[in-house]
């Protein structure tokens, strides 16, 4: 009964996702901006959950609990890497939103090309190639995780899990675009937070308390398991390298296009502060929750063959079937929200950047662009499913490549171009190539056993600076005007508000009595009373 019950809940959840896709298919067909950025109408709650859900992936429900199970307290360093997400909110998000509004860009390659006046489309082509390769690999790895979860918990075959989950995610991404992706991500983000919050609490209660968990772990695994030094009782050089390696994973937050594009979709720059507050609380719950699932699991289920099975095992063993179904839906959410975002970004790049901007010189009508994007979603997704059905051993590790490859391609040029006028097109292109190349080389021939994303990110930054110093920066009246508008300061010394910000101030002032003069209040009251009374007067 329990397996059937869980299966029914999961199927209901998947059907619900399809309904959301159909529901938003009409709204998303209104135009490219609607399809790719949700028409920049998404509120901070939806965008924040969407940002967190899409960046987390199967790592949060499969990888991190498994790491907590095998490495103990050291896994918590993953939570510390959230500090790179804070850098995004404090320093980059507003500027990305600002630049994309001024340059009227709707995709990341679009933004880069416009910023560097790349009329030759070299930058677009580099973006398209790297994005398509790494995102297809990442999507494929998520499909594999999908199949594993189906297999372990529901007893359904791996292939059916991959095909069913894959097809449903592809369909709702194709139909609903960013609206559907962001809204389903919102629900998925909440479900994940719920799952990662409730499961460790239940497990710790089952053990008999937090301190008892520590005592039992100390007895069975040794006190080193409870110290954040990777198996040592004190910080050693190897431990320090491991900590730096974990922190380097955080660079991915600053460069992944599916995260950065969410800042472009903001209603205005003022929403960033709310996104930050919601986001950091979510991250702390999710990261610590996932690590504690692993550690408590090491007490309750000490003999698991594969540490990464701890989340589904704990879900099925500790919870009533209906709650297990909901939490499993949360785990699937983690993967689906990454797949849908990656698919949308990859397909939008092909449709908007390759098909429209390069092949049709920006003259393709929006309906056709969306159609191309939907076809690209189906092709990339289908390709991902086919590879996932016969997974190579290294697929999971290629997913880590994908995270580093994408971040090192887009993070350095975007970050530098937000602050330095002198970044040149060739500087940016060199960095976009060097980052992913160093990622791959470091992975296969590591001079130091450290996560490849960190050195690759730094190498790309250095290359961009050096090449930019020796090549011709963007110039011309149009570019200077754009840069002046972008860097214009208000009397307060902050970046001057954009039209979208002024719109939000006006809306605020309309509803806020304290910001109005007495004359304005009286006039407004008279107007509103007249409007309210008019239907009765007409009768």
């Amino acid at each position: 009964m329990s397996h059937i019950g869980i299966l029914v809940i999961v199927i209901l959840y998947l059907v619900f996702l399809l309904v959301v896709g159909f529901w938003y298919s009409k709204a998303s067909s209104a135009g490219s901006s609607e399809y790719f950025l949700g028409g920049r109408k998404m509120g901070p709650w939806v965008l924040s959950m969407s940002e967190k859900a899409s960046e987390s992936s199967g790592f949060m429900t499969v990888g991190l609990p498994g790491e907590g199970y095998s490495t103990g307290m050291s896994s918590v360093w993953n939570a510390v890497s959230s500090v790179f997400s804070i850098f995004n909110w404090f320093f980059f998000a507003k500027r990305i939103r600002r630049l994309s509004e001024i340059l009227k860009s709707i995709t990341i390659p679009d933004l880069l090309s416009a910023r560097f006046q790349d009329h030759t489309h070299v930058m677009r082509m580099v973006s398209i190639v790297i994005m398509t390769i790494f995102q297809t690999v990442y999507v494929c790895a998520q499909f594999v995780a999908f199949g594993v979860l189906f297999e372990v918990v529901l007893g359904v075959s791996f292939s059916i899990g991959v095909i069913v989950g894959g097809i449903i995610t592809i369909i709702y991404t194709m139909l609903g675009g960013f609206f559907a992706v962001a809204l389903t991500d919102f629900i998925q983000g909440l479900l994940m937070a719920f799952a990662l919050f409730i499961l460790p609490i239940l497990a710790i209660i089952e053990i008999g308390g937090f301190n008892r968990m520590g005592t039992l772990l100390g007895e069975s695994m040794g006190t080193e398991f409870l110290q954040p030094f990777f198996g040592e009782s004190l910080l050693t050089l190897a431990g320090l390298i491991a900590i730096i390696s974990y922190l380097f994973i955080g660079f991915g937050f600053n460069g992944s296009p599916h995260i950065l594009v969410r800042y472009m979709a903001l209603r205005n720059t003022r929403d960033v502060k709310r996104i930050a507050l919601i986001g950091i609380i979510w991250m702390m719950i999710a990261y610590y929750g996932a690590s504690f699932i692993g550690m408590s699991g090491a007490v309750l289920f000490p003999n698991l063959e594969n540490p990464e099975h701890i989340f589904p095992t704990m879900t099925v063993e500790l919870l009533p079937w209906w709650l297990a179904g909901i939490i499993l839906a949360g785990a699937l959410s983690a993967m689906m929200s990454s797949i849908d975002s990656m698919l949308l970004i990859a397909s939008s790049t092909i449709a908007e950047d390759l098909w429209n901007k390069v092949l049709h010189k920006g003259e393709l009508d929006e309906g056709r662009t969306i159609l191309i994007s939907r076809i690209a979603t189906a092709v990339i997704g289908g390709f991902g499913i086919i590879i996932a059905l016969n997974p190579l051993d290294s697929v999971f590790w290629l997913a880590v490549f994908a995270w580093a490859g994408l971040a090192t391609c887009f993070g350095p040029p975007i970050i530098l171009s937000l602050f330095w006028k002198g970044v040149t097109k060739w500087g940016a292109i060199s960095g976009m190539i060097v980052g992913p190349v160093v990622t791959v080389l470091w992975y296969f021939f590591p001079p130091v056993d450290i996560y490849e994303g960190g050195p690759a990110f730094i190498a790309a930054l250095v290359v961009i600076v050096v090449v930019s110093l020796f090549t011709q920066p963007p110039k011309g009246e149009e570019f200077d005007r754009m840069w002046d508008e972008y860097t214009e300061k208000s009397e307060l010394g902050r970046l001057a508000p954009l039209p979208s910000d002024l719109e939000s101030v006006k809306t605020l002032q309309k509803s806020d009595v304290s910001t109005k003069t007495e004359k304005e209040i009286v006039t407004q009251l008279l107007n509103s009373r007249m409007r309210t009374a008019s239907p009765y007067v007409n009768k």
Binding site: M213, L217, G218, K273, L277, R494
Partner: protein, 49 residues
Amino acid sequence: MGGFPLSGWLIIILPPVLMILSVVLWYIREVKMEKLENELVRKNNIRGE
């Protein structure tokens, strides 16, 4: 300290407290600056009229 060593407690407590606190302080600063900006926009509007 119960079953956990001091370093274990520190990594459980310090990062979330510091990170959430930094975002909260930044949020408060942003709200204050936005109020000043609103005031500025209002004054500019009146001057414009």
